[in-house]
C-alpha cells in the first residue's frame, strides 16, 4: 500500500509527484503489455506433458468385446482418438479418420476411445456414420485420465516405438493427419 499523503500545507505546489508516477507505471505498463500479449494465446491449447513420453499402456475391450492392448501394437504407428457422439468437432473430423483409415490400412492402427458417453449412443453414431476402426470402451474414464483428456475430441499420434509424438485438440485437419502419419511411417 503506497501512502501518497505528503505532509504539505498550502496549495502553491505544482510539482510532479514522482512516487505516484513511478508506482503507477510499474503497475500499468507490464499489466497492459501482458494483456496485449494474451490476445494471441490459444485458450483451447494446453500442451500435453505426455509428448515425447511412452504412451500409457492399456488393455480395453471394443464394442464387439475384443480386448485390445496398446502394447501389442508396437511396431506400427497408432492414432488414438478420444471422442463422443455429442461433440460437434467429432462429427467434423469423422470423414478425415474414415479416409485415413482406408488410405493407410495395415500401415497404421486407428483406435477410438469413448469419452464419457453411453454405448447405445456410440453404436447409433457408428451406424449412421460408419466406424473407421475399433471403438474402445473406457470404463471409469481411466484411459482418459491417463492421457489427460480435457474434452473430446483429442487425438494422439504414437510412433512405432510407442512414444507419443503429437497431440491434437479438437478436430484433426486432413492435411495434418497425412503429414503426421507420413512422418511417422
Amino acid at each position: 500500500m503506497s501512502k501518497p499523503s505528503k505532509k504539505t500545507v498550502g496549495s502553491s505546489k505544482r510539482r510532479l509527484n514522482r512516487w505516484v508516477l513511478a508506482i503507477g507505471f510499474i503497475v500499468i505498463v507490464p499489466t497492459v503489455f501482458l494483456f496485449a500479449k494474451s490476445f494471441s494465446f490459444d485458450k483451447e491449447f494446453i500442451e500435453s506433458p505426455l509428448l515425447g513420453k511412452p504412451a500409457p499402456d492399456f488393455t480395453l475391450t471394443d464394442l464387439d468385446g475384443n480386448a485390445i492392448s496398446l502394447s501389442s501394437l508396437r511396431g506400427k504407428p497408432v492414432v488414438l482418438n478420444f471422442w463422443a457422439s455429442y461433440c460437434a468437432p467429432c462429427v467434423t473430423e469423422h470423414p478425415t479418420f474414415t479416409a485415413a483409415a482406408e488410405f493407410y490400412q495395415d500401415q497404421v492402427q486407428f483406435l477410438g476411445v469413448i469419452y464419457q458417453d453411453t454405448e447405445p449412443r456410440i453404436e447409433a453414431f457408428n451406424q449412421q456414420f460408419g466406424a473407421w476402426g475399433p471403438t474402445l470402451i473406457d470404463p471409469g474414464g481411466k484411459a482418459a485420465i491417463a492421457y489427460g483428456i480435457y474434452g473430446p475430441p483429442e487425438t494422439f499420434f504414437i510412433d512405432r516405438e510407442g512414444v507419443i509424438r503429437l497431440k491434437v485438440i479438437s478436430a484433426v485437419h486432413p492435411r495434418l493427419m497425412k503429414e503426421t502419419l507420413d512422418a511417422l511411417l
Partner: protein, 664 residues
C-alpha cells in the same frame, strides 16, 4: 427501419459526448457559467438519445425484426415476451447498449441532484463522465454495433438468447444490478477527477461523493450477491462463489470501494487521508473497467464471459489510456490535496480504519494477482497454470478474519488519542460476546480452527455493532425519552450512523453464514429406480417418477422426488435436466428446499433409458442467511443515503452532540 433509427440515436449520443467532454473541461478551467450550462444540456442530450436507442432496440426485439444484427443474434419468435425484452442484455452488444443507458441515467441523476452549490466541480465532473460515455458510445456505434443491418435475405427465425439466461429469473435481474454497480462507479470517479483538477476536496464535495460511492456499492453488493445466488440455484454444484475470474473482477472494485468509503469517514472526521480516499476511488473505477475488459475480451477463462470479440483490444486501449491519464493526473495534482493530520494515538479508531483499508487493499491485491497470474505465467513460462479456490481461500480467509476483528475493535475505540486504561476497558467489555459466538459455532458442529475463530470474532463484533448502533437511543432513554421517540429521533438526526451499522450487521450475518455453510456441508449421491429411496441427513428422498416436459424453448427431464423428514412428508422436489435446442449438453437445474436453518439441494445428475436416475443431494446449513445478510447491507446503504434532519437549518451542533455522545 429500426436499424437506421437506432444508429441515428447512437450517433446523436456520441456527438453529445464528443462535444460535451471538451466543452466541460474548458468550462471547468475557465469557470465559465455558460459553458457549464452547455455541458449540462449535452449530458441530458446524451442520456435522452441513449434511452431512445435502447427503446428502439427493445421495439426491434419485440417486433422480431431479424434484419437488425442483434435481434438476429439473440431473438427468436419462440421466446416468451418477457425473455425477449431482457435479451437486451443477454449478449455483448446489447449489454453495452444497456450500459450506455445506465450511464446516461446516472449522469442525469447526478447533474440534477448536485446542480446547486457545486459550480467549482460540476463542469469537470460532467466532462469526465461524458468522456467515459464517449468511449462506450463509440463502441456501440462501431465495433459492438447492435443495430448493424444484416445483409442478404431477411431471416424469419433466430436462435434465441443464451439458455442460461432463460433458465432462471435471477439471471434477468443480476446483470442490470451489476451494471448499475459498475457504471455507478463512474460518478465518484468523475467527482474525484474534478476534485483533483480543481485541486481541492472540501466537505461539501466529499459528502455527495461518499453518497454516490454508496449508491454504486449498494448495487454492486446486490449484483454480486444475485450472481452468487443465481449460480447456486442454476449451476447445480451447490455453491455460490467459486473465485472465478469474472466473479473476482466484480469483487475487486467492491473491495477498494469499501476501503474508499471508510477512508472518507476518516477524512471527514479527522481531515486526514484525503489523497488516499481519492486514490482508492480512482482505483475502484479503473477496476470496474478492468473487470469489464476481462469479461468481454475473453482473455481469462470463465463461465461468465462473453465469447471472444474484436472489442477486447479496444477495451484494453481504453483501459491503458485511462490508467495512464489517471496516474499522470494524480502525479500532477495529488500534492494539492494536503492532509491536515491531527494527532491520534496508536490505539485509536483511525488506526482501525487504516488497518481496515490495509486488509481490504491486501485482499484486492491478492485476488488481482491471482486472477491475472495465469496470463503472466503463460507469457513468461509458456505454461498454462491455474489459480483457483484453494489459493484464494488460503490468503483471503485470514484477511477477512482481520476485517471482522477490526469491525469489532474499531467502533469500540475512541477517535483521537486515548490512554491504555480506556482502551482496555472498551475492548474487554464485548469479550463475552466472543465466547457466545464461539460456543454457537462449536455447538452447530464446526471444528475447524478458522471456523471457530470466525465464530468468536462474529460474537465480539456483533456485540460492539449493536451497542454502537443503539447508543444514541440509549442516551436519549437516559434523558427520559420514551423508547420509540428516542429511537426515531436519534435515527432521524443521523440516519447514516444507523445505516452504517446495519450494513455492518449484514456483513456479520453474511460472514457467519458463509463460514457455516462452507464448513458444514453434507452430501450424498445415489442411483435410484422408481420407488427407491435415498437418505441424506434426516431427509429421505423417494423417487416417484420421471417426467418429460416440453416447453416452447426447452425440453425438461424432471425427476419427481418425495421428500420425507423424520418420517413426515415435507414436499416434492423436482430437479430437472434441461435440454435446449442447439446445445448438446443439458443444463442441470437443482431443486432446493430452503429453510431458515438449512437448504436441501438436489440435482439430477443423469437419467437412463431403463428408468433409473442418478441424483446428488446436499444439505448446506445457513445458506439463506448469506442472501439475507447482503440484503441487510443494501437496506443499510439505503438508510445511509437518507439525508439527516440536521442538514436543514443551522442546527449542525445537533449532529455533533449526537456523534460525540456516541463516542462515550
Amino acid at each position: 427501419m429500426y436499424s437506421t433509427l437506432g444508429q441515428a440515436f447512437v450517433l446523436i449520443a456520441l456527438t453529445c459526448c464528443a462535444i460535451g467532454a471538451p466543452v466541460g473541461f474548458a468550462a471547468g478551467a475557465t469557470r465559465s457559467e455558460a459553458g457549464g450550462k452547455w455541458v449540462m444540456r449535452l449530458a441530458f442530450g446524451f442520456a435522452a438519445s441513449m434511452l431512445a436507442a435502447n427503446l428502439v432496440m427493445v421495439a426491434a426485439l419485440l417486433a422480431h425484426d431479424f434484419s437488425v444484427a442483434y435481434v438476429a443474434q439473440v431473438g427468436s419468435t419462440a421466446t416468451p415476451t418477457i425473455i425477449t425484452v431482457v435479451s437486451l442484455w443477454s449478449a455483448l452488444e446489447g449489454s453495452i447498449l444497456l450500459w450506455g443507458l445506465i450511464l446516461g441515467g446516472y449522469i442525469v441523476a447526478f447533474a440534477v441532484l448536485q446542480r446547486r452549490g457545486h459550480r467549482d466541480y460540476m463542469a469537470y465532473a460532467l466532462a469526465t463522465a461524458l468522456l467515459i460515455g464517449a468511449f462506450f458510445t463509440f463502441l456501440i456505434a462501431g465495433a459492438a454495433n447492435p443495430f448493424r443491418a444484416v445483409p442478404g435475405p431477411l431471416l424469419t427465425e433466430g436462435p434465441g438468447p443464451n439458455p442460461l439466461l432463460q433458465n432462471h429469473l435471477l439471471m434477468i435481474i443480476h446483470p442490470p444490478m451489476l451494471y448499475l454497480g459498475y457504471v455507478g462507479m463512474t460518478i465518484p470517479f468523475a467527482m474525484s477527477v474534478a476534485a483533483l483538477l480543481r485541486g481541492q476536496l472540501g466537505p461539501t464535495w466529499l459528502l455527495p461523493l461518499r453518497n454516490w460511492l454508496l449508491v454504486a456499492l449498494g448495487f454492486l453488493s446486490a449484483g454480486i450477491m444475485l450472481g452468487g445466488w443465481w449460480a447456486y440455484e442454476v449451476l447445480g454444484w451447490g455453491g455460490y462463489w467459486a473465485w472465478d475470474p469474472v466473479e473476482n473482477a466484480s469483487f475487486l472494485p467492491w473491495l477498494t470501494g469499501i476501503a474508499a468509503l471508510h477512508s472518507a469517514i476518516v477524512q471527514q472526521r479527522r481531515g486526514s487521508l484525503k489523497a488516499w480516499t481519492v486514490v482508492l476511488v480512482l482505483i475502484s473505477f479503473l477496476l470496474t473497467i478492468l473487470g469489464t475488459f476481462l469479461t468481454r475480451s475473453g482473455v481469462v477463462n470463465s463461465v461468465h464471459s462473453f465469447t471472444q470479440t474484436p472489442i477486447g483490444p479496444m477495451f484494453l486501449g481504453f483501459l491503458a489510456v485511462l490508467s495512464i491519464g489517471v496516474v499522470v493526473l494524480l502525479a500532477l495534482r495529488i500534492d494539492t490535496l494536503a492532509t491536515e493530520g491531527r494527532a491520534s494515538g496508536m490505539a485509536s479508531r483511525e488506526t482501525a480504519f487504516l488497518l481496515n483499508n490495509l486488509a481490504l487493499v491486501s485482499i484486492m491485491f491478492t485476488v488481482l494477482v491471482g486472477t491475472l497470474y495465469p496470463i503472466a505465467a503463460e507469457y513468461l513460462r509458456d505454461v498454462k497454470v491455474s489459480v483457483g479456490e484453494p489459493f484464494f481461500n488460503r490468503f483471503s480467509v485470514p484477511l477477512f478474519l482481520v476485517l471482522i476483528l477490526l469491525m469489532g475493535v474499531g467502533p469500540a475505540l475512541p477517535w483521537g488519542a486515548s490512554d491504555w486504561r480506556t482502551t482496555r476497558r472498551v475492548l474487554v467489555r464485548p469479550l463475552p460476546g466472543a465466547l457466545v459466538g464461539l460456543g454457537i459455532v462449536f455447538a452447530i458442529g464446526a471444528r475447524s480452527v478458522p471456523a471457530l475463530i470466525a465464530g468468536a470474532l462474529f460474537g465480539y463484533a456483533l456485540v460492539v455493532t449493536t451497542d454502537q448502533a443503539l447508543r444514541p437511543t440509549r442516551l436519549r432513554l437516559k434523558k427520559g425519552e420514551g423508547l420509540p421517540t428516542a429511537f426515531v429521533e436519534s435515527t432521524k438526526r443521523i440516519p447514516r450512523r444507523l445505516g452504517g451499522y446495519i450494513v455492518h450487521l449484514g456483513v456479520l450475518v453474511t460472514f457467519l453464514a458463509v463460514t457455516i455453510s462452507s464448513s458444514l456441508q453434507t452430501s450424498s449421491e445415489a442411483a435410484l429406480n422408481p420407488g427407491d429411496e435415498a437418505t441424506v441427513g434426516s431427509y429421505t428422498l423417494r423417487y416417484l417418477k420421471g417426467e418429460t416436459r416440453e416447453a416452447s424453448h426447452v425440453t425438461k427431464q424432471a425427476a419427481v422426488l418425495e421428500i420425507t423428514k423424520n418420517g413426515r412428508v415435507v414436499r416434492n422436489l423436482e430437479p430437472t435436466l434441461n435440454f435446449y435446442p442447439g446445445r448438446r449438453e443439458p443444463l442441470s437445474t437443482p431443486a432446493v428446499r430452503t429453510t431458515v436453518t438449512h437448504d436441501l439441494y438436489v440435482t439430477l445428475m443423469n437419467t437412463s433409458r431403463d428408468g433409473s436416475i442418478g441424483i446428488r443431494a446436499i444439505i448446506t446449513p445457513a445458506v439463506v442467511w448469506v442472501w439475507i445478510g447482503v440484503f441487510m447491507m443494501v437496506i443499510g446503504t439505503v438508510i445511509c443515503l437518507i439525508p439527516g434532519s440536521t442538514r436543514k437549518g443551522g442546527s449542525s451542533s445537533a449532529e455533533a452532540t449526537e456523534l460525540s455522545a456516541a463516542e462515550a
